[in-house]
């Protein structure tokens, strides 16, 4: 069976990854382009990064996005972890089907639908739209991702570890606090980072949930992008890519932590 077409497999990988990474690489490269013409290389420069820092509106939006992401990811992590524990550990309970469906549905729901329905809720409840509505919207969307990540971890953990805690005298609450949560901690960290990057990226739901004075960075980028490619946008995109790469590194480390699996 060594007659497999090795060259074919190598080509598939090479071509596939080139397709995945070339656009991002080009964008990063051209963010250092001295020329304002986005398709002509005019030498290396960091002038667009300097321009970014002087653009008050970009800086303000970046700050809003960062705050929204930090707060909504914290909420999403708390909610998603609770949901994961309920789904992975509580066995059958009334409303389980509905609960599971609600936790999974946003994963496949078009963002336009999620955004629209949340906006209609805010209007119906007469909630003024702004920072906090974006936080709520993002937390609702990203908690599902947290729930999936944490649940996967919990389901990989030997149930008898928690039984052992009970056997040794820990009440259900103590078992949750001292055994289940510490074991799930890496996945909870991973869930937070995932929720953070998803929130940082989102433009559609934020557009629905935001109000005057709460324009997030992706919304700002979006309105600029509709007008065409510009070197400033290349620079701000590169900055976001770097931030996400750092998050991804943390996520990878957290997921790689040893699991409390079976012997």
């Amino acid at each position: 069976m060594r007659r497999e077409p090795r060259a074919f497999r190598a080509a598939a990988l090479l071509f596939g990854f080139a397709f995945l990474y070339a656009p991002i690489a080009l964008l990063v490269i051209y963010s250092f382009n001295a020329s304002r013409l986005v398709t002509v290389w005019g030498g290396f420069s960091v002038r667009w990064y300097g321009a970014l820092l002087n653009d008050e509106r970009i800086v303000e939006s970046a700050w809003i996005s960062l705050r929204v992401a930090l707060v909504s990811a914290a909420l999403a992590t708390a909610l998603g972890t609770c949901a994961a524990i309920a789904l992975a550990r509580f066995g059958r309970f009334r409303g389980r089907g509905l609960f599971a469906a609600m936790t999974m549905a946003p994963l496949v729901m078009p963002e336009v639908v999620a955004g629209l329905s949340l906006l209609l809720l805010f209007v119906a409840l007469d909630v003024p739209r702004g920072f906090w509505t974006i936080v709520l919207a993002h937390a609702s969307m990203t908690m599902c991702f947290v729930a999936v990540v944490v649940r996967e971890r919990l389901e990989g953990v030997d149930r008898s570890i928690e039984e052992a805690a009970g056997d040794l005298g820990a009440s259900p609450g103590q078992t949750l606090w001292r055994v289940t949560l510490p074991i799930a901690l890496p996945s909870i960290v991973a869930g937070y980072v995932l929720a953070f990057t998803l929130s940082l990226d989102d433009v559609v739901i934020a557009s629905f949930a935001s109000g005057p004075g709460s324009t997030t960075l992706p919304m700002r980028i979006y309105s600029a992008v509709r007008l065409g490619v510009s070197p400033e946008i290349n620079a701000v995109s590169t900055a976001m890519i770097v931030l996400v790469a750092i998050c991804l590194g943390i996520y990878g480390l957290a997921r790689a932590a040893p699991a409390g699996g079976r012997v």
């Binding site: 007659r3 077409p5 497999r9 190598a10 598939a12 990988l13 596939g16 990854f17 397709f19 995945l20 990474y21 656009p23 991002i24 964008l27 051209y30 398709t39 909610l79 609770c82 949901a83 309920a86 409303g95 609960f99 609600m102 549905a105 946003p106 496949v108 729901m109 078009p110 963002e111 336009v112 639908v113 629209l116 329905s117 949340l118 209609l120 809720l121 119906a124 709520l136 609702s140 908690m143 729930a147 259900p172 609450g173 949750l176 990057t197 940082l200 433009v203 559609v204 992706p218 980028i221 992008v225 509709r226 490619v229 995109s237 976001m240 890519i241 996400v244 790469a245 991804l248 990878g252």
Partner: protein
């Protein structure tokens, strides 16, 4: 062990209440508004729900519900065309993504074990990078005076710039690019989970590499194919950013049509009705998937 402590009840009740308020209630409101009439006011529909006027008032208003918004969906070719065009574009893009992802997933699953985790990270990492930025990156490439045309003309392959940007082709490329990781991962998982001894057994029984692939590997990865296609198809149908940035003014996709209806035309009842119809459309493949999976589990058991 069925009695639950207060802590346990909270663990369940808090996310439950949250989802009820921020997922179920909004959907209920969408349904309700889709049954309302459009008016020029704020909010731009009636009857507006106002529970403070009591249940009697709410019940009274139930009588005023109308299917006008749904009728207008089908009166207006724009909507029917948007749905059909979305399904068509998403379908073609899903197929293209599958054809692109399968060789990659296959090569990843057959790579040396030590490489595999790194390859998976490489395949999934773009998903983390901003969707918006990744779509944006293609603008610079696909534009008439963009990097692709520059490169092709410099190589002498074409004389005139290809007009890709602003067409359905660009939308197609955008969807394939954006959703490729969603396809690779389930495919990879289903191929990597196959016992290598199965292929060896096929070889031992006289099947060549091609026969082993068609008769063993491919059928066994069916679950991954179905999962991957749904993970691409469902969000692609409702996609807004990609057609808006890469497509032309004539690129019809329902997500974009809804956006316009909502923000520009301010016809909330019609946008809501369009949402409900879209969700109903998306439930069909999901239900099929669920059934396929249930059947698959039965077979395994």
């Amino acid at each position: 062990m069925t009695r639950r402590s207060l802590a346990e009840r909270l663990v369940l009740a808090v996310p439950f209440a949250w989802m009820a308020l921020l997922f179920l209630a909004p959907l209920a409101i969408v349904v309700k508004i889709s049954l309302s009439r459009s008016v020029i006011a704020m909010p731009p529909y009636e009857p507006a729900f106002d529970l403070s006027l009591g249940w009697a008032d709410a019940l009274d208003k139930l009588g005023q519900f109308s299917f006008a918004a749904y009728e207008s969906l089908f009166d207006d070719n724009l909507y029917v065309d948007s749905y059909l065009s979305s399904l068509r574009l998403a379908g073609v893009a899903t197929l293209a993504t599958l054809l692109m992802a399968y060789p990659m997933a296959y090569a990843m699953a057959r790579a040396p074990v030590a490489w595999r985790p790194a390859l998976v990270v490489l395949a999934v990492a773009p998903f983390w990078t901003s969707f918006l930025i990744r779509v944006y990156a293609w603008i610079a490439i696909l534009k008439d005076e963009g990097l692709l045309n520059h490169a092709l003309m410099a190589l002498g392959l074409i004389d005139e710039p290809l007009n890709i940007f602003g067409t359905d082709w660009a939308v197609l490329i955008g969807i394939v690019y954006s959703y490729l990781p969603f396809m690779i991962l389930p495919l990879y998982n289903s191929i990597a989970a196959q016992d290598p001894a199965l292929r060896e057994a096929a070889g031992d029984l006289g099947a060549g590499p091609m026969a082993a692939f068609w008769r063993v590997t491919l059928p066994l990865s069916r679950g991954g194919i179905v999962a991957g296609c749904l993970l691409v198809f469902i969000p692609a149908v409702g996609e807004f950013v990609i057609p808006d940035l890469l497509g032309g003014s004539d690129t019809l996709m329902i997500g974009r049509t809804m956006w316009t209806e909502f923000f520009d035309n301010r016809d909330w009842p019609t946008a809501s009705a369009a949402t409900i119809v879209l969700l109903a459309l998306l439930l069909i493949p999901l239900a099929l998937y669920d059934r396929a999976r249930a059947a698959g589990t039965e077979r395994v058991l």
